[in-house]
Symmetry: C2
């Protein structure tokens, strides 16, 4: 079998649409592409190469001929339909948080832990967007110097929430610029020209689910329970691209010069670090580059093994759709 029947579940969402684009861009060996979505979105037309594909309604029978199903329709849909897809003989690559912390489900970033892919039971989880870019940037450091401590603050774009959030930022921005009062539907507060120190719901320990995902998923992907991580995740009025201010303490010393040399050679990473010319990773650059961008690399002045850095990536592509397709490529 050298060509595959692939389904995209949640094909009309922001990540689903990127999945279709990326399958095309990367010339994924497709026999057939099935686009699935809720009843509400069924019937929509999405282009794939020269074909106009009609989105089908997701049902229990959707997966009968499917080899690989890329899910990006939220946890509830994944919990219900991923086991059905597996029973139908498909391998599921799931972009939701439904199975990520399940011990029998590998959580994969192809650049970081491809070997974890060997032991799956039909479901493979795609990590959260904010996790993917951080682990890709930190993996070379982990390998060469070990990591003892990570303290991360994020600046996340609204497209991570979905289409409605992109619309909300647009509409609210226009309102504010016209001196009118903006309305909030997607977020609990105005996002335009504001910063929300909340992503997802709060847990009992005072952290948000997004913060806990970043903590737990990083440990699982790194196969390392010892790394001490703390996180603050915030939503900023940016359409595309998540930025992260990361502070870490390594076990062994590593110079910035050496680290830059490693980053230049690392596939999947783009070093953007030329402060003499005001060059560093920017959220808007993530619309151009698929790599995880790393910059503002500098030694902490107060901790011998402390390093500060700035990490940016496209949350829809590398942070979601591209990573999922890369997992599919690893599989075949």
């Amino acid at each position: 079998m050298s060509e595959f029947n692939v389904a995209v579940v949640g094909a009309t969402g922001v990540v689903g649409r990127e999945m279709v684009k990326i399958l095309e861009e990367r010339e994924f060996p497709l026999n057939n592409l099935t686009l699935l979505a809720s009843e509400r979105s069924a019937g929509e037309i999405i282009n794939y190469r020269e074909n106009k594909l009609e989105v089908q309604e997701l049902t229990k029978d959707s997966f009968n001929t499917i080899d690989i199903a890329l899910f990006s329709a939220g946890s509830t849909v994944s919990k219900k339909y991923a086991p059905i897809a597996v029973k139908s003989g498909a391998i599921v690559i799931d972009n939701s948080s439904a199975f990520r912390m399940d011990k029998s489900v590998p959580l994969i970033v192809p650049e970081v832990n491809p070997s974890d892919l060997t032991r799956h039971n039909g479901i493979i989880a795609n990590p959260n967007c904010s996790t993917i870019q951080m682990v890709i940037a930190l993996k070379p450091i982990l390998d060469i110097a070990g990591i003892n401590r990570i303290i991360v603050s994020t600046y996340q774009s609204v497209s991570g929430t979905g289409k409605d959030a992109v619309t909300e930022l647009t509409e609210q921005s226009l309102k504010v610029l016209n001196n009118k009062k903006p309305k909030s539907k997607v977020y609990p507060h105005q996002i335009a020209f504001n910063v929300l120190p909340q992503i997802d719901e709060f847990e009992g320990n005072g952290f948000t689910k997004e913060e806990m995902k970043l903590i737990h998923e990083t440990k699982k992907i790194f196969n390392n329970k010892q790394i001490r991580i703390t996180a603050t995740t915030a939503r900023v009025p940016v359409f595309y691209g998540h930025s992260e201010s990361v502070y870490l303490v390594t076990d062994k010393k590593i110079t910035i010069k050496k680290l830059k040399g490693i980053y230049i050679k690392t596939k999947g990473i783009r070093l953007v670090d030329d402060i003499a010319n005001n060059k560093y990773p920017l959220a808007i650059m993530s619309e151009t580059y698929d790599e995880v961008m790393v910059g503002r690399l500098r030694k902490d002045l107060t901790e011998p093994n402390g390093i500060n850095m700035w990490i940016v990536a496209n949350n829809l592509r590398k942070g979601a759709a591209l990573n999922a397709v890369q997992i599919a490529e690893l599989l075949i």
Copy 2:
């Protein structure tokens, strides 16, 4: 002498205008208010109570009858005219970075180190906006538990840069929303719907001047050279209000409950921390409240004395103009 001749230098800037407003709001005991600015802005009219005051051109003779001069026209102007003002008999409260790290110049946040005000030689420095809100929020913790470590990432608004930056964010936002290419003049890159991990110029150590200000000024205000601080400062597309994600490690244990109890009683701080109802400090709230807002208080899960928090304040008022007027009030 119970009424004072006060001058505002840089009266037409965003901070200068706030200074005039705050002198009025707080009914500062004025005999006379002189508004000074560059030749370009001289002649502009600014309201003070029922009076329309004409802005005068700043010259060497501007300070002959002045008791207190509030400077907010940048370092170059302060370096040139503050010594002239002092020679003319005025006390200078300077909002620029020109004298902040000068050992003979006290760097004052009235809620934090008012006693440092006693030993000045005519010039008193107002700290940087990002420093003021952080030291106010951390002072109660320093007093009760000691602070060993601070790791801060900022989300700073464009008004901290000045009027032109507010205009740039407005114009760029409209361009982007209309699918046109925005132009950057004030910032090296597009600020609309983007995050810039650069505030002020870079130093040789890889940190920006803004980051080094936050580090050095905090130590000076706390009279504590031992605190290990590292900082990443970023500009976000927000008009007013700086947000800060602060992680700290205390010397002694302190519970979040106890800390909240202290904050509720601390003047100058507004505790906004009710996550069950999605309440936490927001940049847009700083247009309503003058206090430094603190929230998202939680224990780090990986470090016994680690605390995460979110700090927001109005960068033009408490972060600049209000703090300067409060210093003037302390003086008299």
